[in-house]
Amino acid sequence: MFHIYCPYCEEHREEEEFHPKGQAHIQRPADPEACSDEAWGDYLFFRDNPRGVHHELWVHAVGCRKFFNITRHTVSYEILETYKMGEAPTVTAKSVSEKDKQAGVQAATGGWQTVGARPESEALNDASNQGARV
């Protein structure tokens, strides 16, 4: 059972108080009518399944009812970071692999991803995006 730090309540609470809501940073296309069936299907149904760093949307369902993001390692289940809606993560697959490289750790790259899944959005690694809703 996870022990989750709610960035709004500013304390650790038990997983029972939270609901997972799937992959984070899935943005609804601004003009759905302009989307092809394929693009719309990708938004609706396709999600990443990385072996490693994963950004997830959670809600503190029986606490403050706020949605927020968790960056979690899908192998160790370690929670690397939690951050509010509208904030960009400071820990990403890219930053972790760079850190590992510096430390001389050979990390498995790529991992298993679903067909059609997007690579980690570059926007997540762009510090100038701080504060932008991604």
């Binding site: 809501k21 009518e33 069936d37 719309w40 609706l44 369902a61 949605f67 192998v75 160790s76 289940y77």
Partner: protein
């Protein structure tokens, strides 16, 4: 029979307290301080079970959690039966009643033994694997047979009289295991001010020190144990949990501890009057740091007939002699690969019994214990091992030979030594089960011939659990680990330093690697060499698995069942991997290890469930009118957590109405006069803000821009895939204020859905949501006389032109502030009266006082369902299942295709899949035979003569008998149903009958809606 194997002195038992117990119906006597296992051995009981697959007689092998054979069924009464109890872990108490689990019909003359002998191939290795590949129907037959004969134990058939507790705990440092390492770690952390929980699975804390020969600070080690425990017990920041097993190590240092509070006292918790102590307690511990001090399990050697009773672990022999004053035989042969095992021979000799020989696999064993054995004149046979045990129901001899471990051959003449006990030790395996629960792979270490825990965040392993074995090192390791954990928990660990106790140093020689002992014959033809005694897995079985191409240890495990079930590979795992490695010409780490899973040892369902049973199984929600319904004798239905009146049976001429009779009466009352429903469970969400209207327009499929205050609209809510997720009415209370209703079951989900969209996609919208479900009670007054009745109680103008269908008004009802909504889920004239929940009973009883002359009839959910179905009104979740669009339902009238914002679900409605014309569409079905009520869920076909498998084109979603229409009717989804009005479909039933029905409009009654508009 007296206690033939009980020594005249020694042990930690209380010889002044005799305890009586029965095993397989026979009475025996033991002492306080015994385990069931030590008492059985004291009484000379050799056979405790028959084995799982081959039905061979089995005796006690170990003295702790790793015991594979002595698994008993406990309980003196039917209600207190407990399966899967290890006799080695069960304290003896007065009146204990135990039975063998595997014996069928009894352990001495066992029928399955005959089956095993007659057809040796009845269950070959790979049996499970192959059986699962066979037709599933065969498995049913096998399973019945296996379950009957195999020792899986049984659950009680009567209610458990005991209660069980759960408790949430937090601590800085959780220390698992109170042996030398755990005690040292706990006292170090505690002296530095950490909040410490120390748990240990045994009756007494102290671990290996309870039967140790060694001295600490020049005194017997147990005196140090007593001192440390006294110190810990006196500290406020320490919780000591003896008889407590850490059974599961979960994410983020969440550990479940199972404390057996009274299981050492009786098979049911002691009671005083009507109060009964909790039998066990599950501690749900969130620890900042965990110290794993679980020690190591000794590995037996794998030799022929190593399962005959009288074959024990060397360490178990020492434990029984030194801790329980029991020598389980007269003449011992010890087969060993390491110095530590020599304790067994020394203890045996000191107990006054004969040590026939120590057979050591090493060429030149050197060490203090070896020297001691030599001094005592015990014969030591080197470079050799016991290759086979002789005897059927008890060891009668040991065949000993020189062996070449690297070439895996017998290298000399075989000598047979007469003995009744063989103790073996192939080294030690750190108990890494808990660290493996987290998903971390353990690491092999050649120097200790064992796996040690992998890296887990927040975990420190100490002592035997990480392969540190000499006592002085173990204690130092415990102190270091305790300090590390304290610092990692954010505390200063140098504030207090205790003295490191002085341990008399002991020189141990190096151990050698030996797992399976070679035999004169190859494994396949030698007498059985058991690897996993509990699951009857042999060395030959593992060889067979590798020959059949199973290379992954996980596959070998599934092929052979090694380490399955309650055993979790405690004794056999490493030996099994070593054999697989030998056959595959790989090293043990290359073969890898299997994953251990919770629970470490079996936990009863009672302990897992705790108080979450019976009345407390799940919260129940009651409406404000619940008491009235109970008093009226309503039958209830569960809707989510709500208890809703299902129907209100009346007693007519001394006979209580059936469901069918009550519903027919309730339906007609609504259609002909007036009925009342408690609709308080409907979800209610108060929505406010300048952008509330805009928000509604985005989450509902229909239009909200022009809904004026005082008006109500029905709305459909889709997911973005275009599938319907909920429906309900929303009323405009003011320009920026709305009240949304949801289905009873969907309320919480809709609330979260609205928050999701507001918080993640449209945070710029000014809108707020508040759940007000419990604040308002809702009473639906419906039927032709509804207006007349309500008029007697309200100041609201009910004139049909002033207060139209889909209007709402504020006023008073029965003198109480109320909102009245003119909406209808029955097709009749209807008023939904909402009042503050605490006024509900007053209004409800006032309605009945005035309603008596109209024969006001309360109705329940069943009648509500029939009435709405007659009108073709859907229930989300019953008529829809997450794959139905509003268009499939024929509800295009509720879709705002031209709304400016691309509302949730809109884009999906133009995907190629949602545009298919052969989608399952919502229709009515009228059975050709008016007496037939179709089965809900029944499959629909177009061609009843098609051969099986038939093309299924839809199914019945709702079906009732309509007392108003006088025939059965149904709602259904049918492929392309909207274009098939008037066509006949067929419903083949399980009994071979085929019903015929006509596709009709889902609106069976009053298609123009005139009745609700009166």
């Amino acid at each position: 029979m007296s206690q033939v194997n009980r020594l005249s002195q020694g042990g930690r038992i209380d010889r002044s307290r005799q305890l009586h117990f029965t095993f397989n119906g026979k009475p025996y006597v033991g002492y306080a301080g015994d385990t069931l296992a030590s008492a059985l051995l004291a009484n000379g009981i050799d056979i405790v079970n028959r084995s799982f697959k081959y039905s061979r007689p089995r005796g006690i092998v170990a003295a702790g959690a790793e015991e594979p054979n002595a698994i008993v069924q406990l309980g003196s009464s039917e209600a207190t039966q407990v399966p899967n109890v290890r006799a080695t872990q069960q304290a003896l108490y007065e009146g204990l009643t135990a039975r063998s689990t595997n014996g069928w019909p009894n352990v001495q003359r066992d029928l399955m033994g005959m089956v095993g002998k007659l057809s040796g191939t009845f269950m070959p290795p790979g049996f499970y694997y192959k059986t699962f590949m066979a037709p599933a129907s065969l498995w049913m037959t096998y399973e019945k047979y296996i379950r009957k004969s195999a020792g899986l134990g049984r659950s009680p058939t009567e209610p458990d009289p005991d209660s069980y507790d759960h408790i949430n705990q937090h601590c800085d440092v959780l220390v698992i295991g109170a042996g030398p390492a755990g005690l040292a770690a706990a006292v170090t952390a505690a002296r530095n001010g950490a909040r410490v929980i120390l748990c240990d699975e045994q009756e007494e804390m102290g671990g290996s020190l309870l039967d140790s020969r060694e001295l600490i600070d020049d005194s017997p080690a147990v005196q140090w144990v007593d001192r440390v425990i006294d110190e810990l017990a006196a500290m406020d920041n320490v919780t000591l949990l003896p008889r407590t097993t850490a059974n599961g190590y979960h994410d983020h240092n969440f550990v479940t501890l199972h404390e057996r509070c009274t299981e050492h006292l009786a098979d049911s918790a002691p009671a005083s009057g009507s109060r009964r102590q909790a039998r066990s307690r599950m501690h749900r511990v969130r620890a900042s740091q965990v110290v794993l001090a679980t020690g190591a399990h000794e590995r037996p050697l794998v030799y022929a007939n190593n399962d005959v009773p009288g074959n024990l672990l060397a360490g178990a022999v020492s434990t029984y002699i030194r801790r329980y004053g029991v020598a389980p035989g007269q003449k011992l042969v010890l087969s060993a690969t390491n110095d530590h095992a020599y304790r067994a021979a020394l203890d045996w000799r000191e107990a006054g019994r004969e040590v026939v020989a120590i057979v050591d696999a090493r060429a030149n064993p050197q060490g203090d214990l070896v020297a001691k054995a030599r001094t005592l004149g015990i014969p030591i046979i080197t470079e050799s091992a016991v290759i086979e045990a002789k005897g059927a129901e008890r060891v009668s001899g040991a065949r000993v030979a020189k062996i070449d471990a690297t070439r895996f051959t017998v290298a000399g003449e075989v000598e047979e030594l007469a003995c009744d006990t063989i103790a073996s030790s192939g080294g030690y395996s750190p108990v890494i089960h808990l660290s493996s629960h987290t998903g971390t792979r353990p690491t092999w270490r050649d120097d200790i011939l064992g796996f040690v825990p992998g890296e887990v965040k927040g975990l420190t392993s100490v002592g035997g659990a990480r392969g540190v074995y000499p006592l002085d090192d173990v204690i130092r390791d415990g102190i270091d680990g305790g300090r590390q954990a304290t610092q990692a928990a954010g505390l200063d660990a140098n504030a207090v330093t205790g003295l490191v106790p002085q341990v008399s140093a002991r020189e141990d020689g190096a151990a050698c690697a030996l797992y399976q002992v070679p035999h004169l014959k190859p494994s396949m033809r030698a007498p059985k060499q058991f690897v996993d005694l509990q699951n009857d897995v042999t060395a030959a079985g593992i060889e067979l698995a590798t020959r059949e191409g199973f290379e992954s240890i996980e596959h070998v495990k599934r092929y052979t069942a090694m380490g399955f079930g309650t055993d979790q590979g405690k004794l056999g795992n490493i030996n099994g991997m070593a054999i697989a490695a030998r056959c595959l010409h790989r090293s043990i780490p290359e073969v890898g290890t299997t994953v251990f899973r919770p629970n470490y040892t079996p936990v009863t369902f009672g302990a897992i469930v705790g108080r979450h049973c019976r009345d407390l199984f799940d919260p129940e929600r009651y409406t404000a009118l619940h008491q009235w319904h109970v008093e009226q004798g309503a039958e209830f239905e569960d809707v989510g957590q709500w208890k809703r009146p299902w129907y209100f049976p009346r007693t007519v001429n001394g006979k209580k109405e059936t469901l069918h009779e009550a519903v027919a009466r309730e339906c007609l009352a609504v259609r002909e006069r007036v009925g009342i429903l408690d609709a308080s469970t409907l979800g209610k969400i108060d929505i406010q803000g300048a952008d509330a209207r805009e928000f509604l327009g985005r989450v509902y499929t229909n239009k909200w821009a022009k809904l004026a205050p005082g008006r109500v609209r029905y709305g459909l809510m889709c997911k973005d895939d275009g599938m319907l997720m909920d429906d309900g009415t929303t009323s405009c209370l003011g320009e920026n204020h709305f009240l949304m209703t949801t289905t009873t079951g969907g309320a919480a989900g809709v609330m979260e859905w609205l928050e999701l969209w507001h918080q993640t996609e449209w945070p710029e919208l000014d809108v707020y949501f508040t759940s007000v479900t419990d604040h308002w009670a809702t009473m639906t007054v419906t039927g032709p006389d509804a207006r007349k009745l309500l008029a007697e109680l309200t100041d609201i103008d009910l004139d049909k032109e002033q207060f139209k269908f889909m209007d709402w008004r504020e006023g008073t009802v029965a003198g109480v502030p109320a909102r009245v909504f003119r909406i209808s889920f029955t097709g009749e004239l209807a008023y939904e009266i909402n009042v503050q929940a605490n006024y509900a009973m007053h209004v409800w009883t006032a309605l009945f006082k005035h309603g008596e002359k109209y024969d006001l009839t309360p109705y329940g959910t069943e009648t509500m369902h029939v009435l709405r179905a007659e009108k073709g009104l859907i229930i989300v979740g019953q008529d829809t299942d997450g794959s139905v669009t509003p268009e499939d339902l024929g509800m295009q009238w509720a879709i705002g295709y031209d709304k400016p914002y691309s509302w949730i679900g809109k884009r999906a409605l133009s995907r190629s899949d949602t545009r298919r014309t052969d989608r399952k569409q919502f229709v009515g079905l009228k059975p050709k035979d008016p007496k037939v009520v179709l089965e809900e869920g029944a499959q629909i076909v177009f061609d009843p003569n098609q051969s099986i498998p038939m093309s299924m084109v839809g199914h019945v979603t709702s079906s009732y008998y309509s007392p108003t229409l006088g025939h059965g009717f149904a709602l259904a989804v049918v492929k392309g149903g909207h274009e098939r009005m008037g066509e006949t479909v067929y419903l083949p039933m399980v009994d071979g009958k085929v019903h015929e029905a006509e596709i009709v409009s889902p609106v069976f009654l009053d298609p123009k809606g005139e009745r609700q508009n009166v």
